[in-house]
């Protein structure tokens, strides 16, 4: 029953969640008011459990303890990712998108909400296999500086990477995934050659704007954490960040169905949620 007691302490209502959203916004300028509430409530509850805080203590920490708000913001974002998640998606990028990208002398890609970088390196490997990497540049951005540090290092647990190999094989690659990393002890380090044309940087989809023009933007499993209004704002940002006929890739359960300007995009692959800017 011990676990049960902890849960009672860490329980907050949706009303109390609004108070926390206000504190974070007014005191620190972080606007999470566009995040979906049920998921945000889970994340906040988790932070309370991890730090053994009740609502008052959480608020007091947010107000008085320097650095806590940064930690709080890092912890409320979901950072679960993997290499070649949804192999069918990567296969579709290869067959439906790469032939277009190959016509550009320089290819700029943006992985928005890249977390610890697995998706960025997956793209790098996919481009390398198609002989496109040398003229490509991938920007990986996230709101969370801590995960970006890990992304820059490009060191992952060997056990995990072996799991990713199974995903990779399903994309029908030329090489084995092990060609692209060096294994040492329990760690797999992504080859330096794959880091050469990659830049990781902080960027908030909520408050930051256009910073470059891209041929391809991927933002997978990020929009599900945003309400429809914020989703529209972020999709506008992507629209303005894409070149004409540029590609937008969303997650397996994300689409443009609630986007007011969906007509400005053409569906390239419905099942894999790959779109092309036409308007």
């Amino acid at each position: 029953m011990a676990e049960l007691t902890d849960k009672i302490v860490a329980m907050i209502s949706f009303e109390e969640l609004e108070e926390i959203i206000d504190v974070v916004k007014n005191l620190h300028g972080y606007d999470v008011s566009g995040y979906t509430r049920a998921s945000l409530k889970r994340r906040v509850t988790r932070i309370m459990e991890l730090n053994k805080l009740n609502l008052q203590e959480l608020k007091s920490n947010l107000i008085n303890q320097p650095g806590f708000s940064t930690y709080f913001l890092q912890e409320i974002t979901v950072n679960v990712t993997e290499m070649f998640r949804d192999p069918e998606f990567y296969k579709a990028v290869k067959t439906d998108v790469f032939p277009y990208l190959a016509t550009y002398p320089h290819i700029k890609l943006w992985s928005a909400g890249c977390s610890t970088g697995e998706e960025v390196y997956s793209l790098a490997i996919l481009l390398e296999e198609a002989n496109l990497y040398q003229r490509a540049f991938i920007y990986g951005t996230d709101i969370n500086g801590k995960v970006l540090e890990k992304a820059k290092r490009g060191i992952y647990s060997l056990a995990k990477v072996k799991e990713y190999s199974e995903n990779f094989i399903k994309t029908e690659p030329k090489n084995s995934l092990s060609e692209y990393y060096t294994a040492m002890y329990n760690a797999a380090t992504i080859n330096n050659s794959l880091k050469k044309n990659v830049l990781f940087s902080m960027h908030s989809l909520v408050s930051d704007g256009v910073f470059n023009e891209f041929q391809l933007i991927t933002c997978r499993n990020v929009l599900i954490y945003f309400d429809t209004e914020l989703q529209n704002k972020v999709l506008d940002l992507f629209y303005h960040s894409l070149c004409h006929l540029g590609f937008l890739c969303l997650g397996a359960k994300e689409s443009l169905i609630n986007y007011k300007d969906a007509a400005k995009f053409k569906i390239v692959n419905k099942k894999q949620n790959i779109y092309q800017k036409i308007g």
């Binding site: 849960k7 949706f14 049920a38 359960k253």
Partner: protein
Amino acid sequence: MARKILLLAGSAGGFSVILNILKSLERPILIPVIVIVHRNPKYASSIEDTLSKALVQKIKTADDKEAIEDGTIYFAPAGYHLLVEPDYSFSLDISEPVQYSRPSIDVTFESVAEIYKENCTAILFSGANQDGAQGLLMIKRYGGKTFVQDPATAEVPIMPEAAIQLDAQERILNIQEIKDYIKQLT
């Protein structure tokens, strides 16, 4: 009128029982239904498509930001947690598995508990882990109705037993009693 909801959840041995109950219904369940069962996203089958032909009502995988409607049976998508928002719409979440499960029954139950309060009925079926027990307790605490399948009738009793250990259930029901309960919602 208050919005109501019925939650049906299970794992090993629970899924087939839930399906059989749904198939046995002659009239549609009038309120929305959410079904949460553990299944591997790598083998995500089109159960919903197959089922929709066998059932007397609309059945579909819950979509992100979809408004919850009466008379529809929603399945939690494989590989995602399914949450309910205060505006009675769904949202999806791909954060860490809970009780080794994604979708996790606990996650959906806990999110529904505060929103539907006493207008929520949840039934936990056969299953091979403890997912669902905490969530069921949360629903009970918020005044919802909570039932568990009698472990003696469950193919794998671990899941209902975990709930009973927490005293999360209002009543323990056998399959016929569950069927009868659901029938009066049609």
